[in-house]
Symmetry: C2
Subunit: 489 residues, 2 copies
Amino acid sequence: MEIIRSNFKDNLNKVYEAIEEADFLAIDGEFSGISDGPSVSTLTNGFDTPEERYQKLKKHSMDFLLFQFGLCSFKYDHTEAKYIMKSFNFYIFPKPFNRSSPDVKFVCQSSSIDFLANQGFDFNKVFRNGIPYLNQEEERQLREQYDERRSQANGAGTLSYISPNATKCPVTIPEDQKKFIERVVEQIEDLIQNEENKNLQLEPSIPGIIYLCHYCFQKERYIVISKVDEEERKRREQQKQAKEQEELSDAVGFSRVIHAIANSGKLVVGHNMLLDVMHTIHQFYCPLPEVSGLVSLQVIYKILLDTKLMASTQPFKEIINNTSLAELEKRLKEIPFNPPEVESAEGFPSYDTASEQLHEAGYDAYITGLCFISMANYLGSFLSPPKNHVSARSKLIEPFFNKLFLMRVMDIPYLNLEGPDLQPKRDHVLHVTFPKEWKTSDLYQLFSAFGNIQVSWIDDTSAFVSLSQPEQVQIGNQAVLCRGATRLL
Amino acid sequence: MEIIRSNFKDNLNKVYEAIEEADFLAIDGEFSGISDGPSVSTLTNGFDTPEERYQKLKKHSMDFLLFQFGLCSFKYDHTEAKYIMKSFNFYIFPKPFNRSSPDVKFVCQSSSIDFLANQGFDFNKVFRNGIPYLNQEEERQLREQYDERRSQANGAGTLSYISPNATKCPVTIPEDQKKFIERVVEQIEDLIQNEENKNLQLEPSIPGIIYLCHYCFQKERYIVISKVDEEERKRREQQKQAKEQEELSDAVGFSRVIHAIANSGKLVVGHNMLLDVMHTIHQFYCPLPEVSGLVSLQVIYKILLDTKLMASTQPFKEIINNTSLAELEKRLKEIPFNPPEVESAEGFPSYDTASEQLHEAGYDAYITGLCFISMANYLGSFLSPPKNHVSARSKLIEPFFNKLFLMRVMDIPYLNLEGPDLQPKRDHVLHVTFPKEWKTSDLYQLFSAFGNIQVSWIDDTSAFVSLSQPEQVQIGNQAVLCRGATRLL
């Protein structure tokens, strides 16, 4: 189901209901870019520690916009022995809601934009009809603004254009506007004395009105003065408060969906989801913490499961060659796996996995959910007696909880949210520096005596080189020294 | 005429012709944002010097993307006594053209994007079909890349994966790929010995092919080996060079239009055009110079004329109240002005000024041209005998050349590209610092004894306050000191 600004409020309860009833949720995000500085190969160096990777993504990936969010809820129907699925594809854009609202700047990376354009991504839908959002701090500030304005309005009698500490004398009226002001005073006196008249719209003398409106909050430059009794005043006050409350809700916008996910505490499944998790926290919730780990990254998601990590781990590792989402989804339909029984809920459109709509966030979330179900059920085949259905609450899948896949890291498969990260031995890894003209081929050439090596570029003049045998390091080190390169690790 | 990536090459000669024959050109750009830091009121402080303003725009406005460019050529037809107009509306996007091309990052400001969205701006057209471009330095680098590749290819015999300085021994073939390589060697030997066969497509054994392709430039991972004689080799070489030349032209893309404007030396008219001028130089030509002025900003545009400045200057100043483009265009149809006689050239669509398409760059360029014609012709009414038509080459309009309007600057109307900037007296201007809780109202209150004042905010805790009479500064200064604020200017 496609959700844009104009149908967001009408469908919010459907979203809440889907989250509430779900056994698990699957998510996916599309961003306006990946790296604002280093090349992707430098951003994802093969020997990053989980902490280093997190810091790099925090520094170089967070100024991009998450502008499409896919949410898919899966609820198991025991009688029918199948999952009922509800999918939502949200378009998101930080439309300023009034003159004092944050004017968000975000970066676009042309390769990412071009990639999405080739997938048929609808940028007009994002920019014209994206749902706005506020993080917690912006929401708090906006609430304060409303409160302050209300308390100012209630402190009747105080001229609002004199600050609380200033002497309460009237401002000097410029010579050229005196006539206009005098006429206004006359008209107001008339209004007060005349029982018949309830309203007075001031004549649109532009310079005068601008002067009077200097501190008004209205955008339109006209002023209507009305006589109201106490009851009417209260009614208007309440009306205004209700309207403000609604404006506030509208401004919080899509973040309300994120709050609902956070409050549900449900299992949230994603594919290669580290960036999705970081972006949703950063954009819709609060600044990312300095240090990653359990407490800090689980402000929104209590239990996470990364299908790319799951597919790269035993017992799947040996029977799954390619863990990219599209390939994984295909592989998991074949023996020894079973394609999961999943049906769209009534009133929800269904996706056809035969005609791929890859990189639409809603579709990607959907097939991520399918992959999770297939893999979870496969774990049931090891039980005696075997089980066809393994639920999202089963102990069997707990080993995969809260471990996020680390792209291209050679020897640390995941960032662990629930404990210390793995510390692999790196005896066989050399840190090599060299002239900036060197290419990968020069490194292969340098280490040609050592058989298979792996090169992870750090920058123009350094790289990690991993030898296949730790005992080769001594010799490798000598080779490096002979060629004018230096070893540091 | 709408120009996108797919019809750019077919229409480029029309663009060149239009520029070549024109009496003058009008331009306009649409950007993805205005300021990446300060608020617009801080970016355009009322007491900026031209140099300060230029530096601020250079620092805070250049990371946005100019993604729509309007170009309108006007050619006077003396027999018919009317202008013939050709308008082009270009969509522009830095689509990466290959894997080593610059991956441009640009900033979007949500208020600007939202503004354009409300005007019906087509973002899909920009991102899916925008014309690419290169600045001069990027073009030079790409040309070098092609040259280097060609000289490498011609140095036949050298294995390309061995760097020039390395010992020329073959690389070690990893154990698991030996079989594949051996089979390839066999197949190649067969190909050489067998007269019949001309081509050999290697079997797609993925790991082996990747190994062989490690330094190939092809994106597709297959290899075809062909036997060719010398003649065929030369033919293929020439074919390849022609293809490379075309690729290079395609990559330079929209910048070719800018080069044509630069080479024409024609009068280029814009409305409030400082940002347009800066963006076109920065994006399509070269980095903006440290200092503004004649030499540096006129790398593209030899003669510029800003219709907003013209409308704000004698003899127009007194009879034109509102110099915003839309209002100016309306005003210049009324007495004492004459709506200009302008007709679209054959095969070019015409704009209807009655149904406004404001903020489409092509349309804005068009009505900017209309405004210029009306104002230029009005100058002819002062001649004796009066002239109805004043050409773009007339001495009458020279006083307006190369002076760019400065937004919101109180006492310096323009940035002068041809000489020193104006140095107005600023005796009556106070620099005031104060606690950050202060609002404009507090400043009005503080200076209430001085009648009309003008406040130009610098940041949260300082502003310029301009008194209407220089002789009041002494007293004003005292008032400031009494209230704990300080005067610095």
